[in-house]
């Protein structure tokens, strides 16, 4: 075999990297060995362009049990001897090519990461970004992704409790499909991905190995792609029933002491599963690829090692326990195959029968080169940021028409038509399901609850990566705070373009720096994460879009609130601001500018110290049972926040405050660190006292009652009219030709 430029390119190995491989090995690798390098040194598995930045993220807190990069997912202690295991992961490129299977297998992969740690998966969330629905291909992608999540996820019996969906031209051709899975496990029963010393058996269980997904990690996930039809065969096909059986069988196995470790086969298939387990076990592995059960004849060792066939697990079985293990898997109708053993020599050795096919030190494979690419401020950044917002085009719509237009825009309008395609109640823990600021689940057998949210605003990040990164973290944490949860841990899915381009690396570098600043200020660690780079079509990058998943802890699950206004007569208070003032700068990056003017300009801003105080006070107010509702002010600004609370609670709002400055900015500007709450008037004094003690500003803005949304002189709209605009926005966008 000759090492050609095309071969290296197909494996995403640069010529410098090839030289490094030659030096490290001291010889020319064969094709199989090169394939192992290509996969494990890929961005997807090896984080070669992102690791130096990822190291900046805070990873530890007193609750952290397993942190980023250590295992398949992060784990945090929630007390009562329990831990939450969670992670978010992307399946963007597969979903762009084959939306149903791409999204379905994205769910499958993240769920395996969770139960590989011995945790029962208890919740799923999806953060989705698409191109506008005015484009028929975007509609096809949207429908396929939603159907794939529904088709695969519902079959597993894991509630799909939240997430968000938004649309922007930047995601045409390159949707973002990020899936988060959350699991529950007894803290002392977390299972490791390790070979656990030498002499243990490497056992494959689950699906047979086919040719699907070869080069998924090195090809699909680690470089830009153009002709999508050509890549369709690299997308795997999911079997949710088999996944469900694997969940149950593996959780039954890990409850015994027959296994030393458990690892799912995800990106780079058997290669990364076995090599990572060997690395974690500080040892080596010997695998006979001829033992691996196959779907078709004529597969080479290379095909077998790099296949990304779904629903497979690598179980590290203690040497004398195969009979017991077979009994449990047999009950579930699963057959097992011993494909190798763990060793102590530090080598990954692959045999085909008696013939040695590859032998490489594990530490070389798991230590890819790291790059700090050049960074350059994107050339139009300053001009976009300094756009003169006093010169916005005059629009012919009155305030009410503007509000209705924003409410029916696909980004703001109700996503109920999507969420009801997902089972969000199974397992009977869901207190608050999708469509809220954060989902709330109770933890059976305890008084505790958890709050879950995903967030990330690509528009903000494109305008100001540093501030955008800060806001992504702040908002994800704010979302869990406003339902009553103290944010205790984060996971991140970093979606960017090609990091080898200096302007893209600048975005990534600054977004992550912003995330670091916010996470440090708020005192919340990142315990897991995933990087998705090369999100580009025809040379155009997506908006830089870090998606943050937040985990909040509620000491008492009975004390949580939603964003719906509840009781006529309740007082409405805006926490975090001491007056309703409209500064034009607050329109920067807003939904209003996009929906009304088709613009993404300006510069978002946030005060992290205020943010921290506002979040803490919200949790305190909710856990003290003072509030009837709380809703984060975010996309669409104050007017949309109030309107959503009125619509979902079917209660009117009468404003009692004055607006200072620009009414457009006051009503539609996106001020961070502000939360709309409602409460009975008799509790107002207590709320004011707590906010004063904590030095958190507030404004009394209105009272609930009647059937209209009334902010004089701008709005006097029937709630029913707002509701029909909001309810039908997405549905109409999908059905329009």
């Amino acid at each position: 075999m000759s090492i050609t430029k095309q071969l290296l390119e197909s494996l995403a190995i640069s010529s410098d990297e090839y030289q490094a491989i030659l030096e490290l090995l001291g010889r020319v690798p064969n094709e199989l060995e090169l394939g192992l390098f290509g996969s494990l040194w890929s961005e997807h598995c090896g984080y070669k362009h992102s690791k130096p930045l990822l190291k900046l993220l805070p990873k530890d807190s007193s609750r952290t049990l397993v942190s980023s990069g250590e295992e398949n997912a992060g784990a945090v202690d929630i007390g009562d001897g329990l831990a939450i295991v969670f992670k978010i992961e992307s399946h963007n490129h597969p979903s762009a090519i084959e939306p149903y299977q791409g999204a379905a297998t994205g769910i499958g992969g993240i769920v395996r990461d969770i139960f590989a740690m011995g945790a029962r998966p208890i919740a799923l969330l999806n953060s989705l970004r698409f191109g506008p629905l005015t484009n028929s291909h975007n509609k096809y992608i949207f429908n396929g992704v939603v159907a794939g999540i529904s088709g695969y996820g519902n079959c597993l019996g894991i509630p799909n409790v939240g997430g968000e969906i938004s649309f922007s031209e930047s995601y045409t051709g390159n949707p973002l499909v990020n899936a988060m899975c959350v699991g529950l496990v007894e803290s002392d029963k977390i299972v490791k991905s390790t070979t656990g010393g030498s002499g243990n058996l490497l056992v494959l269980v689950g699906a047979e190995t086919g040719r699907d997904g070869i080069h998924g990690a090195s090809g699909l996930a680690s470089k830009s792609f153009e002709d999508d039809r050509e890549l369709r065969p690299t997308v795997q096909v999911g079997n949710p029933f088999l996944e469900k059986i694997l969940i149950e069988a593996c959780l039954e196995i890990v409850a015994t002491d027959h296994v030393a470790g458990l690892q799912d086969l995800g990106a780079a298939g058997l290669t990364s599963a076995s090599v990572e387990a060997a690395a974690n076990g500080n040892g080596g592995i010997v695998i006979d690829v001829s033992k691996v059960p196959r779907r078709e004849n004529g597969m080479s060792a290379y095909d077998v090692m790099l296949s990304e066939s779904q629903e497979r697990m690598l179980v590290i079985v203690k040497k004398d326990r195969m009979d017991q293990v077979n009994e449990i898997f047999g009950k579930w109708g699963l057959s097992t195959t011993v494909i190798g053993t763990s060793t102590s020599d530090g080598y990954a050795q692959l045999f085909e029968g008696d013939s040695l096919q590859a032998k490489i030190p594990v530490e070389i494979l798991t230590d890819p080169p790291q790059y700090i690419p050049d960074s350059k401020v994107p050339k139009n950044l300053l001009s976009v940021q300094s756009y003169d917002l006093t010169k916005l085009p005059v629009n012919n719509l009155n305030p009410e028409e503007l509000l209705l237009k924003v409410l029916k825009s696909p980004n703001i309008s109700s996503k109920e038509s999507v969420f009801q395609q997902y089972d969000h109640q199974v397992q009977t823990n869901t207190i608050t399901g999708p469509g809220s600021d954060a989902a709330v689940l109770r933890i059976k057998g305890t008084s505790k609850g958890i709050a879950l949210s995903t967030d990330g605003n690509g528009r903000y990040c494109s305008l100001d990566p540093l501030t955008g990164g800060m806001i992504a973290v702040a908002e994800a944490c704010r979302n869990v705070s406003v339902v009553g949860g103290t944010p205790i841990a984060l996971t991140d899915c970093l979606n960017f373009g090609n990091p080898e381009k200096p302007e893209i690396y600048y975005q990534m570098q600054n977004c992550i720096k912003g995330m670091v600043l916010a996470a440090n200020t708020l005192g919340v660690p990142f315990v897991s994460g995933n990087v998705s780079l090369y999100n580009e079509t025809r040379g155009e990058s997506i908006y830089p879009t870090p998606i943050i998943g937040a985990l909040g802890l509620l000491e008492n699950f009975n004390h949580s609130v939603t964003g719906s206004f509840k009781n006529p007569g309740d007082i409405v208070v805006l926490i975090g601001r001491n007056q309703i003032i409209g500064e034009l700068s607050s329109l920067g990056g807003s939904e209003y500018l996009e929906a009304i003017h088709g613009l993404n300009v300006g510069k978002p801003s946030i005060d992290l110290d205020l943010e921290k105080k506002v979040q803490k006070v919200c949790v305190q107010l909710i856990q003290s049972n003072l509030l009837s509702s709380a809703h984060d002010c975010s996309d669409g600004g104050l007017a949309v926040t109030l309107a959503e609370s009125c619509i979902s609670g079917n209660v009117g709002f009468q404003s009692t405050t004055n607006i200072i400055g620009s009414w457009e900015a006051a009503l539609f500007g996106e001020y961070q660190s502000s939360v709309v709450v409602s409460l009975p008037s008799k509790k107002l004094e207590q709320l004011e006292n707590i906010c004063r003690q904590k030095n958190v500003p507030l404004t009394n803005i209105g009272i609930l009652g009647g059937y209209t949304f009334n902010i004089k002189p701008y709005f006097d709209i029937e709630i029913a009219d707002m509701k029909s605009a909001w309810d039908m926005g997405l549905i109409n966008a999908l059905s329009s030709k």
């Binding site: 029933f241 469900k244 109640q425 009977t428």
Partner: protein
């Protein structure tokens, strides 16, 4: 009194039923693996929701051949109460223990949402604690809950009072607007001719606690419990 909760590969409401029965209603309940062939110790059998065998081929079409199904048939003939929820309903139809069939929702999508259902007959092991015409708020979660049957069967089940539950509006109107899946005549739950086997698409086990949004599901389980205690509405073996 002991409940047996049947677990097929792919079942997922088993733990929810167990939680509702044991933790909330304080009953004795056990999981029963689908290969079990002795059901004598159970007084009521529950076939829970899920995707048995992935719903491949047709929902319930493979599960109905599990070894346990022969025993469930015998138990049903002997008058033991058998409750099929969602996928359990589909399995019981496939096994011909209930009339009719469940096909793809008319709008072709999976639907997980709260529904209102009207109790049409309270002379039953499953509804005797409800009042006639009572409106229950119970969620559904299925892609194939569209109840169909031939005209003769439909006439018969209507006449025999086998239709226990129909989808309705919040105010109790049984109309198209309230129908979440296209079911014929808004049928949400039917029994066999002797009344001891009920299949229902809504999930009563999901609403037995107020923290989950409602407690209307309890009345179904409480009816069974009461009937087993008092012997009322129980059936003699055929």
């Amino acid at each position: 009194m002991k409940f047996g909760i049947i677990v097929f590969p792919g079942t997922w409401s088993d733990t929810d039923c167990h939680h509702a029965l044991v933790e909330i209603l304080e009953q004795d309940a056990e999981y029963v693996w689908h290969e079990t062939t002795d059901l004598s110790e159970y007084d009521c059998l529950i076939l829970p929701g899920g995707f048995s065998y992935g719903d491949y081929l047709r929902p319930g079409a493979i599960a109905r051949f599990s070894p346990i199904m022969r025993e469930i048939e015998i138990a049903a003939q002997n008058g033991k109460p058998v409750l099929g929820i969602c996928n359990g309903f589909q399995i019981l139809c496939e096994a011909k223990l209930l009339p009719g069939a469940l096909v793809r929702n008319s709008h072709l999508q999976f639907r997980c949402t709260w529904t209102h259902i009207k109790v049409e007959n309270i002379e039953s092991q499953f509804t005797n604690k409800a009042s006639i015409g009572q409106i229950l708020r119970i969620p559904i979660s299925h892609g194939e809950g569209n109840y169909v049957a031939d005209e003769i069967t439909l006439g018969k089940i209507e006449q025999n009072g086998q239709i226990l539950l129909r989808y309705c509006t919040e105010n109790g109107d049984v109309n198209e607007k309230a129908n979440p899946n296209g079911s014929y005549k808004n049928i949400a739950g039917v029994t066999n001719e002797s009344g001891n086997v009920l299949g229902m698409m809504p999930h009563p086990e999901r609403c037995c606690e107020s923290v989950l949004g409602g407690t209307d599901g309890r009345v179904i389980f409480e009816s069974v419990i009461s009937s087993l205690k008092t012997g009322q509405y129980t059936r003699d073996p055929i």
